[in-house]
């Protein structure tokens, strides 16, 4: 779905509910009804290859002359220390894990994603609200509660979901690095004492959540078992369709 169709009517819009109190509500029912920018996000479990695909898309967009900005999950400088403290000292519960990530996401939305979209940039996000929906629900949080929590998020122009079987993803990861981190493997859930086994069980739950979200949010599924080049050409084709309609995009100076 295109951002201009969905931004004020979509499930996650309008962000404009957060107008300052001295402005009338829903001022944003202006006729152009949307932000000039475009927002592309990639989703999928670890080892699905989504980050590789996003960086290739990034290169291509830059080469085409678009003003592109990239935003990484869990990267707000304001919230970083708190998340680090919580993870290091294992203070995080399902509830606070969910909230601290929402805080991080809010800071990035308010400080960069939203203003950039208003300014006409192409914004790329490695992981978006769907990551939170999948992980938090896998940790036992209420489905509707988590969706409500992210009610301020801007609905993406396209959300690419890189679908990969669990075993393929794990074999990619195991060869690439040694060991999993505590929260990454869902060790806080007590599913298994063995990090690799815990990771497998936790990611399995996450995968189930992603599958449910495909029809719910209209995620754009890319078969992540295909060669990298084939996936990338599919991604570019879809992105291109949404960029052609955008008249007010900013170009790189």
């Amino acid at each position: 779905m295109d951002i201009t169709d969905s931004i004020h009517h979509g499930r996650f819009g309008p962000f404009e509910i957060f107008h300052p109190v001295d402005q009338p509500l829903f001022k944003s029912t202006r006729d152009d009804s949307g932000y000039p920018g475009r927002l592309f996000v990639v989703e999928g479990i670890d080892g699905s290859g989504k980050s590789t695909q996003l960086s290739l898309l990034h290169k291509w967009l830059e080469a085409k002359g678009y003003g592109v900005v990239f935003s990484q999950w869990n990267s707000s400088p304001l919230v970083k220390d708190t998340t680090k403290l919580g993870k290091k000292k294992k203070l995080l519960t399902a509830g606070t894990f969910s909230l601290i990530h929402a805080t991080d996401f809010a800071d990035r939305t308010e400080r960069s994603i939203l203003p950039l979209l208003k300014a006409g940039a192409v914004v790329l996000c490695d992981r978006y609200i769907y990551t939170a929906f999948a992980r938090d629900v896998a940790r036992g949080m209420d489905r509707d509660w988590v969706r409500g929590l992210y009610g301020f998020a801007v609905k993406p122009t396209v959300a690419f979901y890189f679908r990969v079987p669990l075993e393929t993803a794990i074999s990619r990861l195991v060869t690439a690095r040694d060991g999993f981190k505590f929260y990454e493997a869902g060790m806080d859930l007590g599913l298994s004492d063995d990090p690799t086994e815990s990771f497998r069980l936790f990611q399995g739950r996450i995968l189930e959540e992603y599958e449910k979200m495909i029809p719910e949010f209209g995620l754009n599924v890319i078969d992540a078992t295909l060669p990298v080049e084939v996936q990338q050409s599919q991604v570019r084709q879809i992105a291109k369709r949404h960029l052609e309609k955008a008249k007010e995009l900013r170009v790189r100076p």
């Binding site: 509910i17 957060f18 107008h19 300052p20 109190v21 001295d22 009338p24 509500l25 707000s76 304001l78 919230v79 220390d81 708190t82 403290l85 919580g86 000292k89 203070l91 995080l92 519960t93 399902a94 509830g95 606070t96 909230l99 601290i100 929402a102 805080t103 809010a106 800071d107 939305t109 308010e110 400080r111 940790r139 036992g140 949080m141 209420d142 509707d144 509660w145 409500g148 929590l149 009610g151 301020f152």
Partner: protein, 291 residues
């Protein structure tokens, strides 16, 4: 059995929370902290174990919040969520374990202050209520109500003006006094609404500390005593806890025939808050014109 406002956090058992959860709410300068300190020693003297807690005191998020407030780029959604993180950390790691151990938990502000401050900053009411639907319903909420004039004199002669307490982020003005006044009036109006929605036990906070304490003690004794407790429950039973989505209390549109400038101020900002829920947008516009 203890209830939440509609949803519960994973792994949080509600059936064995034997203690009492007592909330003291109020704006800046309402005397909350003084009263909580007095109540704590009084309750401990009577032999009760007491835990006192309050906003931005969690192990997880307290430092992060303080650091974030030092900068100049804390957005309102981020602001609101950071405080919610702090609240949930204290709920899970302090309040619930203490209640389970039979403590009386005295909390210096609760979700209501957090909702009021976020509402005044323009956050969506339904969004806030959904987020805080995992909070425990307290046994009592004592709201120390003071007027704007008392509030101002109490704050300026104690802590002085602070950027966030003056709402400089939401009511930028020529000086801190102007912003402070507008912000606190908006908060007071929001507290009035919350008071009805969540059935606050209102206490006149403008009286001297001793009078307020005696009033609080009487109500707490009633809450702790078996008979008094039943009485309190039956009073509260008239209003079942609303599951989300919450209905926002619709206040009657404010009358603005008042000539007094201070009252007009108060009405204007009450209308501001109402305007957010689309209740009295027209009143708000009319008032604005009248000025």
């Amino acid at each position: 059995m203890r209830q939440t406002y509609g949803k519960s956090l994973p792994g949080m058992k509600l059936n064995d929370l034997a203690g009492k959860l007592i909330v003291v709410e109020g704006t800046d300068g309402a005397g909350r902290t003084t009263q909580i300190n007095l109540l704590k020693s009084w309750l401990e003297e009577m032999g009760h174990a007491v835990l006192d807690t309050g906003i931005a005191r969690s192990t997880l998020a307290a430092d992060g919040i303080h650091r974030a407030k030092e900068g100049n780029s804390l957005g309102r959604a981020t602001h609101s969520l950071f405080y919610a993180t702090d609240f949930i950390d204290r709920l899970e790691h302090e309040i619930v374990p203490a209640l389970r151990a039979g403590f009386i938990v005295l909390t210096d502000r609760y979700i209501y202050s957090l909702m009021a401050r976020a509402s005044v900053r323009g956050m969506d009411s339904a969004w806030l209520r959904s987020m805080y639907s995992v909070a425990l319903v307290p046994d009592a909420v004592f709201y120390l109500r003071i007027g704007i004039e008392d509030l101002i004199s109490r704050v300026i002669f104690s802590s002085g003006f602070d950027y966030w307490e003056s709402g400089m982020d939401v009511f930028p003005g020529k000086d801190m006094y102007e912003s402070f006044r507008k912000y606190q009036v908006a908060l007071l109006a929001e507290f009035e609404r919350l008071s009805m929605e969540f059935n606050f036990d209102v206490i006149d906070g403008s009286a001297d500390a001793k009078t307020v304490l005696i009033e609080l003690q009487a109500r707490i004794l009633r809450l702790l005593g078996t008979d008094g407790r039943r009485e309190y429950r039956s009073r509260a039973a008239g209003r079942p806890v609303a599951p989300i989505p919450f209905r926002i209390e619709k206040r009657p549109a404010a009358s603005w025939q008042s000539t007094n400038d201070n009252e007009l101020d108060a009405l204007l900002y009450a209308a501001f808050v109402n305007a957010q829920t689309n209740v009295a947008a027209s009143t708000f516009r009319a008032l604005n014109k009248a000025r």
